[in-house]
């Protein structure tokens, strides 16, 4: 079956005019990337936002005004402070159980990032391993991997995730593993095709001529050349995983309550969305900003690390 994910991710064109130019500039690939990054507004903005949000996530216990789990049933459903009926001690109001919404949103960044990074890491491990194996060893291994990919693609991934979470049970770990275990195709497709291309390159032949084992070649020669692309996919997959978690939680099969997950908060706010719209709008915005920042960063990384072809 054809691989159908074809969006291009920083392909290493190993020979190009511009490389020669780079050569004469005498910069290492890393230096070139940094130099380009400095002039890439999307990347800078994305990185900036992400940095702030990551800070919030890490420092949540100190930055959040309240305990995100602390309920006060007599202060339920307060609107944000600037709306009539709001209180300044609860800047963004409270939820159904009288928990401080701002604190929950701040802690939500933690959950989202944890799940995003966790799931993307698991996906990367699975996808890259399978991709390199399929690409480098080929043959029946490739066929087997191909079969797995078809299975994975043919079943709507959300459905699969929901079924798995439903059956295994809801917890953050399960969500991370299930999302990770269903989001490796992109890694696989890209690393497989890159491996296929790289394995034909002469330096791989040179490595086996000097006595490297196949494993050494896969790990030491091929893998380093995939890192850029893996990094780009990783960032994009973090965003995808975050959105997936939110969607899952929204549908009631994500992280368990009372964990402050943005998707869950939207789901909980949904019943009241016509009357307390902020319950839905605020976590949505948080989610949007985080994901857009990650995507900007990912796109940026792709732009600056791609070895340029003729423009």
């Amino acid at each position: 079956m054809n691989m159908t994910i074809t969006e291009s991710v920083g392909g290493n064109e190993l020979t190009s005019e511009a490389e020669r130019e780079q050569a004469q500039l005498g910069l290492t690939p890393g230096q070139v990337a940094i130099k380009r990054a400095r002039r890439h507004p999307g990347l800078l903005v994305g990185f900036g936002i992400l940095l702030v949000m990551a800070l919030f996530a890490v420092l949540a216990p100190w930055l959040a005004p309240h305990d995100p789990y602390l309920q006060n049933l007599s202060l339920r459903l307060l609107p944000p402070a600037w709306v009539e009926g709001g209180q300044w001690s609860h800047l963004l109001g409270t939820d159904h159980l009288g928990r401080d919404y701002l604190s929950r949103i701040i802690y939500g960044a933690r959950i989202s990032m944890m799940i995003g990074i966790g799931a993307a890491t698991i996906g990367a491990i699975i996808g890259v391993t399978l991709g390199v194996i399929a690409g480098y060893f080929g043959g029946w291994l490739d066929q087997a991997v191909n079969f797995l990919v078809t299975c994975q693609l043919a079943v709507p991934s959300l459905l699969l995730i929901m079924a798995l979470v439903f059956v295994i049970g809801q917890s953050i770990t399960v969500v991370i593993f299930v999302i990770g275990a269903t989001h490796w195709v992109f890694y696989l497709v890209v690393t497989r095709s890159a491996t296929l291309r790289i394995r034909e390159l002469d330096f791989v032949a040179a490595a086996s001529a000097m006595g490297c084992s196949r494993l050494q070649i896969a790990v030491k020669e091929i893998l380093p050349n995939l890192l850029n692309q893996i990094l780009v996919i990783f960032t994009l997959e973090v965003a995808v995983a975050i959105l997936n978690e939110a969607t899952l939680s929204f549908l009631g099969l994500g992280v368990p309550s009372p964990t402050p997950s943005w998707g869950l908060m939207i789901a909980e706010g949904k019943t009241a969305m016509f009357f307390q719209p902020w319950l839905v709008i605020l976590p949505g915005i948080a989610l949007f900003v985080l994901v857009i920042a990650i995507n900007l960063l990912g796109d940026g990384v792709r732009d600056v690390t791609v070895t340029n072809r003729r423009s």
């Binding site: 043919a154 459905l159 079924a163 995507n295």
Partner: protein
């Protein structure tokens, strides 16, 4: 070619069997469908009776083989939960989803292709930047949230469209838009990079050296090449929309396959889940096969090797 199609069909079947056995086993070990069938407050006698009646007390392999046997005879079974032949159930729900998916595809194509093409024609221009911004934002907006916001805005605050349901064309506007925009970024980017690649290729330079310019260059030389990856991605997107309209359907309370699938899962309605998976897998494989065949028709290299 027949060979090829057969090979693909076999693959689809294998995939479907693998996946369906997986789900079967999972559900068997983790849920009690009898209770859902009986309902929350059902007395225990009732639950036990149901369990026995449906044969849930038999070993998983027996149940699976049983199911498979009847499927092979063309009988997809009776839904545990809906107490209706699964085939009928699917037929009923498929209408909504097919409609929704096709409309969404139209939305995607109508937004993504012109954007992608104009961005590729003028890289780094404001159109390009606009397209890119659209893509990045559309990618970051949670789909379900967009749906909710649209409901708040266009169904409640300004009641232009109905909040939910699937009984008239107006019910489909918002969901199709929401579902359609979800694949705009991918398709748009692909169109853009694909067309850029083509426009930067040697044969386009040849065409220009022959005297082609402007729209004739695009239409008569570049389009067909640029279409190849788009056909594939659209097929995949359509496949995912058919099966994956879960979120949209639940936000807009539409009675389609996605919702059916979710409810069947929630209710451990195994015959329905199984049949749906079979359906999704076959649809997906057929769509990608169709895309491959279209591509083969478009591209002689694929056709003849």
């Amino acid at each position: 070619m027949i060979n090829y199609v057969l090979r693909r069909a076999l693959m689809a079947l294998l995939v479907a069997l693998t996946v369906s056995f997986g789900t079967f086993a999972l559900f068997y070990f983790a849920t009690d469908p009898a209770q859902t069938i009986a309902g929350e407050d059902a007395p225990q006698e009732m639950v036990d009776a149901i369990r026995e009646q449906y044969g849930f007390d038999r070993p998983v392999s027996v149940q699976y083989v049983d199911w498979l046997g009847s499927v092979l005879q063309g009988d997809f079974g009776q839904s545990y939960f809906w107490k209706q032949p699964v085939v009928e159930l699917i037929q009923e729900h498929a209408k909504v989803t097919i409609m929704l998916a096709l409309l969404a595809l139209v939305v995607t194509v109508v937004i993504a292709l012109p954007l992608g093409i104009s961005a590729a024609l003028r890289p780094n221009s404001w159109v390009d930047r606009f397209a890119l911004t659209t893509a990045v934002s559309a990618q970051a907006i949670p789909n379900f949230w967009l749906g909710l916001m649209l409901i708040i805005l266009l169904a409640v605050t300004f009641p232009i469209f109905p909040v939910s349901g699937d009984s008239s064309w107006r019910h489909y506007v918002l969901p199709a838009f929401v579902l359609g925009t979800s694949s705009v970024p991918a398709v748009m980017r692909l169109t853009r990079t694909g067309l850029l690649d083509v426009l930067g290729s040697d044969y386009i330079r040849t065409a220009r050296a022959k005297g082609f310019t402007g729209y004739r260059l695009i239409l008569r030389q570049a389009l067909r090449n640029a279409l190849l990856p788009i056909v594939s991605v659209l097929a995949v997107q359509l496949g995912h929309k058919l099966g994956g309209s879960i979120v949209t359907e639940s936000v807009f309370s539409m009675n389609g396959l996605g919702r059916l699938a979710v409810e069947s899962i929630f209710n451990s309605d195994i015959p329905t889940v199984q049949s749906l998976i079979l359906l999704f897998v076959l649809t997906f494989v057929l769509l990608t096969l169709a895309a491959d065949l279209i591509n083969a028709w478009l591209d002689p290299r694929i056709r003849m090797g």
